[in-house]
């Protein structure tokens, strides 16, 4: 049903670390690979080898450039998938009840056998987390790998979303945001996890850990701290070699 559960005991989601994401697209493709042959319909690719290839992906990485005046620009890789919002507008707009938020863990899913492919949920999502598969005519979205995280056919250590398991930079963390002691809650608290588009009132579960400050941006003052380390030991090469002899004797 398209009504949202009043609250969920668990709030499963991802903490995505923008400070370490190198933008390698591993999560994008591994997600596609897992999901095209698991939950629901495959993720199709139209004109796959043609002039305008377009496929369905549940996770995409944007690359932004950020620049403050008089400072070098920085590059930020920004993975984006469903944020499993507490107040998910994509769920309530659904006319058939295909979109729903799981009462037990808060995962937002599409029951594809009820989906008419009207696309309204995608319109309602501010994050671009939903894509209508052109071949199957049903709405696809991140399932948080609901068919992995509880899957007893997988070894316990593999019961996490495919994107998390595959991320080479360990930039993606999976956990329960309802539990303040969980890895993701702590990480988010420590690093000031960002809520995307807070003004849309969607209450997303996923958090983005912001990039840490860069040393080449606003560097004033750094040099002084370490300057003593470069105090020349002598002013001339000859003097230096003299210093060297003494230093060697000390060994």
């Amino acid at each position: 049903m398209t009504a949202l559960p009043a609250s969920t005991p668990k709030k499963l989601g991802l903490a995505i670390d923008l400070d370490i994401c190198v933008g390698c697209h591993a999560c994008v493709i591994n997600c596609k690979e897992w999901n095209t042959s698991n939950y629901g319909a495959p993720l199709g690719d139209q004109d796959a080898y043609g002039a305008n290839p377009v496929g369905t992906f549940l996770n995409r990485i944007h690359t932004f450039e950020v620049k403050a005046p008089e400072q070098p620009a920085q590059t930020v890789h920004f993975p984006k998938s469903c944020l499993h919002c507490e107040d998910a507008p994509c769920v309530t707009v659904c006319p058939t009840g295909a979109s729903y938020k799981r009462a037990e863990d808060g995962i937002v899913l599409v029951n594809e056998s009820d989906c008419i492919g009207c696309g309204l949920c995608a319109w309602a999502c501010p994050y671009g987390a939903r894509e209508l598969d052109a071949q199957e005519g049903v709405m696809k979205k991140c399932t948080l790998c609901v068919d992995r995280i509880y899957n007893e056919n997988l070894p316990e250590e593999d019961r996490e979303p495919a994107c998390v398991r595959t991320c080479p930079a360990n930039a993606r963390h999976f956990g329960d945001f309802a539990d303040p002691e969980s890895n993701v809650s702590k990480m988010s608290a420590e690093r000031g996890g960002l809520v995307l588009m807070e003004d849309q009132d969607t209450k997303p579960v996923n958090r983005y850990l912001p990039p840490r400050p860069k040393a080449d941006i606003q560097t004033d003052g750094d040099i002084d701290i370490l300057a003593p380390f470069l105090e020349p030991v002598a002013d001339t090469p000859k003097g230096l070699l003299g210093w060297l002899d003494k230093a060697l004797e000390a060994i």
């Binding site: 690719d45 080898y49 377009v54 509880y150 398991r165 360990n170 020349p232 070699l241 002899d245």
Partner: protein
Amino acid sequence: MNHHQPDLDTSPEVSDEIRKTTCYMCACRCGINVHMKDGKVKYIEGNRDHPINKGVLCAKGSAGIMQHYSPARLKAPMKRVGERGEGKFEEISWDEAYEIATKWLKPLREKAPEKLAFFTGRDQSQSLTSMWAQNFGTPNYAAHGGFCSVNMAAAGIYTMGGAFWEFGAPDWERTKMFMIFGVAEDHDSNPIKMGLSKLKERGAKIVGVNPVRSGYNAIADEWVGITPGTDGLFVLSMIHVLLKAGKVDLEYLMRYTNAPMLVNMDPASDEHGLLLRDAKGEFMVADRKTGKPVSATKKGVKPAFTGEVTHKGTKYTPVFQLMTEKYLSEDYAPEAVAERCGISAETIRRLAAELAHTAFEEEIVLDQPWTDWRGVKHDKMIGRPVSFHGMRGISAHSNGFQTCRAIHLLQIILGSVEVPGGYRFKPPYPKSVDIHPTPHSMVTPGGPLNGPHLGFPRGPEDLALDATGKPIRIDKAFTWENPMSAHGMMHMVISNAHAGDPYKIDTLFMYMANMSWNSSMNSRGVMDMLTDKNEDGGYVIPHIIYSDAYSSEMVAYADLIFPDTTYLERHDCISLLDRPISEPEAMCDSIRWPVVEPDRDVRGFQTVVIQLGAKLGLPGFVDENGDALYKDYADYMVNHQRRPGVGPLAGWRGKDGSGSGRGEPNPEQLDKYIENGGFYMDHIPEDAMFFKPWNKAYQDWAVERGLFDKPSPYLFNLYVEPMAKFRLAAEGKGDIQPPEHLREQLLTCMDPFPTWWQPFEEQGVNCDEYPLHALTQRPAAMYHSWGSQNAWLRQIHGTNPLYVSGDVFEKHGFNEGDWAYLTSHHGKIKVPVVRMDALNPKTVWTWNAIGKRKGAWALDENAPEATKGFLLNHLIHELLPPKGDGLRWSNSDPITGQAAWYDLRVKIEKAPAEDQVSQPSMPAQTSPVGQGPKDIAYGEEF
């Protein structure tokens, strides 16, 4: 209101079976779990137990399904029926294919083996292919290292017996400051990503030195947006600052390097520039007490680093003093180099200070006793937690060898190699240059070459020159133009063969190298050379044999095609004899095995080499009766022995499978590998984990495992004596003399100390006319040209804009969606431009190898790769612009011959968008495999 939700099976069956093998979506060689369902590949994930990737897998690896089922796969052997380059073929049987090849090759072997040029691309079976070529007898063999990594490999081996690239790694667990130079997603990408993540967790500092702030540089704590080709100058300036401040690890230098060795300072001496040795050939040092030269190995000797000693009337100075004098020159002062490097003097000083601070004030002490090769016991391991890594951005310049040496020098004076927190080698490295082979090139028709082709020359006597001084090799490797071309020079083969310089060849045999497209400089010129005909109507290069798994641009230029398998259908060994998957803490190797049987008439190239070798009756491939020694590659992997007891695979050797590294062949070896997840790993003992070149426990361990046959400790070379030997020849000493026109270049470039010169193309063109540097970087989600046939990956990078710095973008009045002409001294291309501010202002760049030829890779002729994608290769020539001396100067490093891809200088101007098609636009090739299907929905069947 009540909430309803459907019942969901959260424990669906994942697969019928998991088969563990090795990835080959790039050269990283990660372990993969291939999930099989109903005989098809359902899902590929990283193998958690694997030493390389420990479970993770990149975009390429995760897209393996699309590569395995690619519509561009070749289906059967083919012979050309149209004109070369057209792409018209007829499928033939393997028998016929072998017959044709044998008909061409057999007479060559009998009469003139050098008329076969056999060059392989990105495969990693060089220990097999080189043995084949050696037994065929041609001197013309190499892999693609000459246009890829040789500057790094050679600089590393000559300096410290091990290199960057994937042959070593920072101590990710302990290092506190890490500097990466010119590193994009090249080799070792998953280990680097995992490592960077570890550093971030520990709060270690990452400094990215790269003109482009992408990928690793994007997440670095500090980005140094250096001007291309000036890294050496930047590093030498930091060395200047550190030396001046006395921030060097003298004890390390004294114990583990040739810093105290004595250099002959007499210009008149026949040994000018060489190191002083005693009668037994041992290096000598100046005793600090007596001031007299004594053997460096003498017990209790305290060597001097400074001063001048006279021995038998000749003056000698320690290496360290010469080095100090050289780098204390104000030419290397930060202020002197800042503008050229595009880095402020303050930044250079601060980074040097941070390195010094981290190395010396934050030293690491491990409570781990160890014994050095002199027998001295140490109760602790002292580490300097600064580490460095470098890749193509350093390697692909005409000053790359010396730049890479400069980085090694910096590492060494900080005492940070093979120590806790520093940079460490992966077995079989560290391995002194002294126990590496020298090059061999002596041809005997009908018989094998006199030794392995490739190696590390120790002096002019190792050059591949005939008695008249003419190059013996078709690529002119190991000649005075590039004496230390340790990987050969694949990029010169087609050009030289076409020019008949130094001679004409009959058959060009290549594997997995897209030479008619993105793997060549001057791609269009190469296409012409491959299709050029003699007056008699025959092709200038009469026969071309090519092996590839896919319908690449090069396929159309071959006369005979051996279709290779995909990586999931083949046997392979990632061998300690070649480029293994070892880690600094373990010796490792691995295999590939057919987790899926081919559904086409294709064979793994290595099997083809073995079968062809048998048909040609090559030694090593047939027994005394002329019968084939090995059925296929799998057979060879198990049963071939390079030295008694040492073969391609190190694991489970010996009858009972208990041998590690050594032991007779074990028929169950491959089963053991498969059982173990496709790899073998043997951990280095705790006391042997660091200081490996000098660590007795490591040396003994390595000998036991067959990495070498006797303990081979050695010293790091601040001063590379073989270079001094070449320089000595250039000074006119010795019998083997360089041509006059090269003397000056040799005197400058063969500096035994790292040095810097302006990249050659910059020297040759008017930099005011061509004010910009142009580069490519490999994207994380693509490997060479392979990715474009991959339905998933090509959606990420279907086009490659030219990224232009904000300055240039505004100066030329560009707007979003604009196009530009990019012109070099050699060519002009039309490309789409995009603004990027996080970019060195004098640099433009693009992603590598996205542009495709129409008709190739089973893509639509209007694929964006062909219409909007482009290659910079059209702007790069294998020769430098003429200098007016009538000579041909190659666009490569003068020491190693490494192709100087990144020396490219260009100018940019706004172009009319018109049809929005990049130029040049080549006519389409006929696709020998047709075109891929319209829509796909992989996974429907599961």
